[in-house]
Symmetry: C2
Subunit: 156 residues, 2 copies
């Protein structure tokens, strides 16, 4: 579907309302076939959940309402450009279109800098600021062997 200002304004209004209600300045709306399925604000500090970004919450709620984890028939409108975690969630949900109003630099100017995370993800694990260490790799393979041996596994 083509861009609709109506849905973007829903995402913006959700974000504004969220700021009034103890949340962060971000909102997201998931739309399917011209219908708003979910609209959520950032609740990280409000719910003590570091993953509670607006896009993640809107994707989770849309998936719950639609009863499926594949949202390839949906689009997402976000008040601001998604961070790497949210963009990862968008890929896993197979959402093909993201409309956003504010950009990453606008978020940075308001104190939310995700450019650091984008830079980190581009690095090899050993060069990241988070310490990443592989250990007991053979034990890790046991899990995948069990998975591949399972006849009724649900692939996605």
């Amino acid at each position: 579907m083509a861009y609709s200002k109506e849905y973007m304004m829903r995402a913006i209004e959700t974000a504004l309302h969220n700021v009034d209600n103890g949340g962060g300045p971000f909102g997201a709306v998931v739309v399917k076939d011209g219908e708003v399925i979910s609209e959520c604000g950032n609740r990280v500090t409000a719910s003590n959940d570091p993953t509670a970004h607006a896009e993640v919450l809107a994707i989770r709620e849309a998936a719950r309402k639609l009863g499926k984890y594949d949202l390839s028939d949906c689009e997402i409108y976000a008040s601001c450009e998604p961070c790497p975690m949210c963009l990862g969630a968008i890929y896993w949900a197979h959402i093909g279109v993201v409309y956003y109003a504010g950009c990453s630099d606008d978020a940075k100017n308001a104190g939310f800098d995700d450019s650091f995370i984008y830079k980190e993800l581009k690095l090899e694990p050993k060069y990241r600021s988070v310490k990443m260490l592989q250990a007991d790799s053979q034990e890790g393979l046991r899990v995948f062997k069990k998975w591949l041996d399972k006849d009724d596994r649900v692939e996605y």
Copy 2:
């Protein structure tokens, strides 16, 4: 804290158990001061939630149990190398250490390819396979203005 095989085996056992219970072949454990705070398996297909990766669930549960969104005093053990969404969640939770058993290639061989998402995140938005379009950027700025004008905002 130094690597502990005990916690890695908890993550592996969680993953194995999860496969037996309709989940994906991934497990993660969050540890603080030598105590396991949370241990979760991948429930994407089981709960119709595309964000329900083991690490995201373990971070959410640990944050809920500890009553805080900053998990900088925690470490995470994962049965497999985290995907970009989970690594983003790890950064937002300020977890400083990630131990993992299987690597990204092991996951790929089992049908879970996150290298595509890592590659996509390295690209400028306009070059990604997901269509990303900025629109009504001035409306996006209204949200951040409201945020910065708010005296009692909780920054993170």
